[in-house]
Amino acid sequence: MKLTIKYLFLFTMIMGISSISYGQNLDEIIDKHLQAHGDLKKWEEVVNMKITGVFTAFSEEDDFLAIKTKCGKYYSELSLGHFDVKEAFNGETGWTIDPWMDISFPRELNKNERNVFLQKAEFFSPFYNYKEEGSKAEYIGETNVDGVDVYELKLTRSTGSVETWYLDKNTFLEFKCETMWVDFSYRAPAETYFDDFRDFNGLIIPCYVESMFNQRNRVLVIDEIEFNIDVDPAVFCMPKSDEIKKLNFLNGDWGVAVTAYYAPRDLWYPVDSSDSHIDYAATNMIQEKVSYNASFVQSKITDFLYDSEKTQYIVSTYSGFSSNLRIFTGSLNDSSFVLKSTTIGCDTTAPFIIRITYDNITHDGFNVEFARSYDKENSWNPQLRLNYFRKD
């Protein structure tokens, strides 16, 4: 019994020492790893990086551009086969234009992709300030990868994603990383290899990065890195469609003069004046909220969108007066933007069609005229005219 206690004590001691030893080993390895990447004070001074090089996908080379910022933003332009791809991340969310998904417009990143972009946005090592960022590192052991003796470290990020990093025992620089990547937006385990470390004014960066996931092979060869350049913050914002941008003339703070049409005398007469604010409510949706008197109070919320499949604008107008929603479709030409009401679903019983015409469009204003047709568009009866004049 005494002997057993003695062995237990010894075992506990060994385990304890072992843990301390591993703990020290981990910190020491990470310290040396960070030092191997160059002067940390210099890294602190880096606000952003512009990386240019050559990217290989599907065995074809093409130019590569990426911008990373200290606050975790990322933007890149590259080619995947014969398609150009743009992608960006603002540190929290992001977007991509990826024609391989048969999506020609920018779409938001999913959760899988978000984790990838957190990795892509990193300046040089996930172990830099990893504790402050809520990540956890563990020392796994020593091993050999493709003939290179390496330290194996496990990194659990604050997001819960787990990565295995293999650091070259001689240089303490990363040799390989096993992590979760995405392939056409779906999760895919990836192996990434780092090579050709070069000195950029005291900052050591791998200029050959090769990834394999599923059957994919991607190689980035970095030619040049510029530091602390002027970056247009707009590059990180999801681009608006060309068609919605054509409605930019609507945006602004406006004064609105409201006139109504009196048919017996063929006369327009003032009924109210109001204010309107029109702006993007979403990447590709412009919204107007306006309220004016025309016999009754007309409070309206109008959303302007473009349907790329039907190649027409779609506008919805919510009326606070009637609590109804009307849908309009239309097109924009050189001088006017014309919308006509359309039925929803199987309802073809609408007694009249409403036409809204935006014309006299300048930077400083535009006119909006409402008209109705009771005879299937053979004739139009003017109803109301709103004259918008810029206030901002």
Binding site: S59, H82, D146, M212, N214, Q215, N217
Partner: protein
């Protein structure tokens, strides 16, 4: 009258001898079909050179070539392959061509089909590699037309249309399976309807000798192998490995742990088959005894995409996605792994791997499980290079979508 009978007798005798020669399963010279004489990526030639200095590959010639992925068939002083030429962005033709082995100059070309234009942009034109016999060449276009031509002058002999005649459907990226030849038969994976997935055609006139199987056309090429003394053709289709006798009898089938692969099955020793794809698991090895296949090993240490491994002395050498690797056949253990060749290809000549990167770098590497040892290399061709090299008379032949080249190993 007697004289005439004598002449007829002589003619019959000559025809008889001729028939006998053809009947003896004439084996053409050199790299005469997809993946070489035994469809295993291995040349039987010897390399006598021992003093390598890294710069041992010398350009013999380099020529422009129309787009296509067919390997270069090299035999009797000629090169045969398939190419395409575009007329505009949507039209063009596919050809079987013959070239002078010494110069790469074109000798003849015969149009065999309309051009296949790849919607994904991987590359236009034919994917399959033709096969030759003593007098003819047989090639499959990317739109599924199997054509026989005279080797001498490209004269059209016969053609069968897999889509029109057999109800086959063009697979994504086009028909890619390369013909295999046994006796008087050209055997193909057709992917047709009504038991016409696998078919044997008479070399003489393209008539059907046998057909069997259900399943569409894949991208895989059949292996011809002798297992337990029995000649057989091994196809991969869907999730099944099929073995047929040359006469069309099913010998055995095996349910694979994955489906739809592109790399060819590899014969190991006398009775084992290695099959690899890019999914999980990456490969399996099955042993065949008494026409029954049993799985021996499975693993993820080798995942072939579209190019196949070679087997040498207990080890497989090939592309694990985009890393050239050596793995043990016994255990699947990775012996070494070398990146930098992308998704290229390789063949084996006398213990040396001829490794072509997906960007046209050609390297000679020892087929040695101990370590990756490169003895020579050259930037052989430029641009995306997915077609495996061919080897004949000490020379390596490479091609891609725009050019081809011949390199000799310096003495």
């Amino acid at each position: 009258m007697y004289k005439k009978l004598k002449q007829i007798g002589l003619l019959l005798l000559i025809m008889g001898i001729n028939t006998a020669v053809i009947g003896q399963d004439y084996i053409p010279d050199g790299w005469y079909q997809f993946r070489g004489p035994n469809r295993d990526g291995i040349s039987p030639e010897k390399i006598t050179k021992t003093d390598w200095n890294g710069n041992d590959l010398e350009l013999v010639w380099k020529k422009e070539l129309g787009s296509g992925f067919s390997e270069l068939v090299v035999s009797d002083g000629f090169i045969y392959t398939m190419i395409s030429e575009k007329i505009d962005s949507v039209t063009g033709s596919e050809f079987i061509v013959a070239l002078d082995e010494k110069t790469g100059n074109e000798l003849w070309r015969t149009k065999v089909d309309s051009i296949y234009i790849d919607a994904d942009g991987w590359g236009d034109g034919p994917r399959s590699t033709p096969i030759i016999d003593e007098t003819n060449i047989y090639g499959l276009s990317a739109y599924g037309k199997l054509t026989a031509l005279s080797r001498k002058d490209g004269k059209f002999l016969w053609q069968v249309d897999f889509i029109k005649f057999f109800g086959s459907t063009t697979p994504r990226w086009g028909y890619a399976s390369s013909p295999v030849m046994v006796d008087n038969k050209i055997i193909m994976e057709v992917g047709g309807t009504e038991n016409r997935t696998f078919m044997a055609f008479n070399k003489a006139d393209g008539s059907i000798l046998w057909n069997d199987g259900a399943g569409g056309a894949s991208h895989d090429s059949p292996l011809k192998a002798t297992i337990n003394g029995q000649e057989q053709l091994i196809f991969v289709n869907g999730r099944t490995l099929y073995s047929y006798s040359p006469d069309g009898d099913t010998l055995w089938t095996f349910k694979m742990p994955f489906r739809s692969i592109t790399a060819m099955p590899i014969l190991i020793d006398d009775n084992k088959i290695f099959v690899s794809g890019v999914r999980t698991p990456g490969f399996f090895i099955a042993e065949i005894n008494n026409n029954k296949a049993t799985q021996l090993l499975t693993g993820n240490s080798m995942k072939n995409d579209f190019n196949s491994c070679v087997y040498h002395d207990g080890y497989l050498y090939g592309y694990h996605i985009a890393a050239v690797r050596c793995i043990s056949v016994e255990t699947g253990e990775v012996k070494w792994s070398k990146r930098g060749f992308g998704k290229g290809s390789l063949i084996l000549v006398d213990g040396k791997l001829m490794v072509l990167s997906d960007k046209g770098k050609l390297a000679i590497v020892e087929a040695n499980p101990e370590a990756y040892m490169e003895v020579a290399s050259v930037q052989a061709i430029t641009g995306k290079s997915w077609t495996a090299p061919s080897f004949k008379d000490g020379k390596v032949y490479v091609r891609n979508l725009t050019e081809m080249a011949c390199y000799k190993i310096k003495k």
